[in-house]
Symmetry: C2
Subunit: 241 residues, 2 copies
């Protein structure tokens, strides 16, 4: 088996929410490459991993991935691409040295994860590189577990969308779907409260801050929120039940 990059979901925060597969891959890899949103920031994914496996003797490379800037467009796109290409070349060089590499990413690689930016940049340089994905527990699942609210049952329809849209899509989705999981809510609570109020859905909404972490907080009445909640906040709007 050739040297492999494992893109590993760490789950939402509780180190016990890593899978056995994730832990086995982390134990096996001599190198961890982790993303940081800012040059002086900490990697949340790495801090979870450190609680789950012994990292003594591991080579840990914290690389700066300017993720947010891709969306808000304040950094030249070439600078973003260069950061990702640098990360991709770094990982490929490690694989060429015969080292397996772990890239832990918060939650699940499938859902709003940085892992795919790394993957795509690697595939552009070397489509034959060996990359495997190991699923993690999503913030959505963790919010559901914290509140005992299922996100879908029977024939129900579920939507997962960023709450940052200001066009018709947010309202349209809230009107059509049985359950809507709103991500990236921390900066738009007042706007959401207005919209959910207009749709008669405030009583059907719950916010979970830091789901699956030690300081998890469940807020059942969104109108009581006076300050922006933590970045790791998710709202479940469930019409039934």
């Amino acid at each position: 088996m050739p040297s492999t990059l494992y893109i590993i979901g760490t789950g939402p925060g509780d180190p016990e929410l890593l899978t056995v597969k994730a832990i086995n891959a982390l134990k096996k890899c001599p190198v961890f490459v982790t993303p940081k949103g800012s040059p002086n920031g900490n990697s949340t994914a790495l801090s979870i991993v450190k609680q789950a496996v012994d990292t003594r003797g591991k080579e840990i490379m914290e690389l700066h991935f300017p993720m947010i800037k891709i969306h808000i467009g304040t950094m030249p796109i070439t600078e973003v691409r260069e950061a990702w290409q640098h990360a991709a070349r770094t990982v490929l060089s490690l694989l060429e040295q015969g080292k397996d590499v772990a890239f832990p990413t918060l939650g699940d690689p499938a859902v709003y994860s940085t892992g795919y930016y790394l993957y795509e940049n690697i595939m552009e340089i070397d489509p034959a590189a060996c990359v495997k994905f190991i699923s993690g527990i999503t913030a959505m699942s963790s919010c559901s577990a914290a509140t005992a609210i299922p996100v879908c049952l029977g024939d129900e329809m579920l939507a997962i969308i960023p709450a940052t849209f200001r066009d018709h899509r947010l309202r349209q989705t809230l009107e059509i779907f049985d359950t809507v999981v709103l991500m990236k809510v921390h900066k738009v609570i007042p706007h959401l409260c207005t919209l959910l109020g207009e749709l008669g859905l405030l009583g059907k909404s719950v916010l979970v801050e830091r789901a699956g972490m030690d300081n998890e907080r469940v807020i059942n009445d969104l109108t009581t929120i006076t300050e922006p909640p933590h970045y790791f906040s998710t709202i479940i709007v469930r019409k039934k039940g």
Copy 2:
């Protein structure tokens, strides 16, 4: 801490995809209660659990939960309710005896799981009963990992819906969302191929059969499917990338 019912997501099939938290809870509980769709059927969730933990010495109660009949309506609804109430009373009786109970459920309790039917019936009888949910890896995450296709990136919108609708909702969702995860697809492949073809999305669709299980199969061209795939099949329709 009072005796507790743990509703535990087993993930999609690979026993390594259980979380450490799930395994610790399973080890701790002296009784496993597991759902079976038919009186003579096997519990897939239990078969996964048996590969992950030593079940010698555990009391295993396989109860018949006539799940499917709730939706297709061929069984009197009272009979369904009675089966669930019986299960709820059985679990409550075990908790009263001071025993922790594990209820393993395929995938994640949040997403189309039988666990919530048990939970709701228990809450109706005893709202003070101690029930905890332990998240699992969803079929969606597992399909994403198998195909290296993210389900959402950046500002994308994701929908998860049963593919069995025959009204406008399926088409509408496929038109609006960036990624659509279609569940319960095995009986409606010809209908889906027609619809996806009309919307120009056949080339953007992939079916994963038994994701995360030993005999996982990825089908990139849905039109090549001549026989209904396995019940554990999911389609990801991703417009971008």
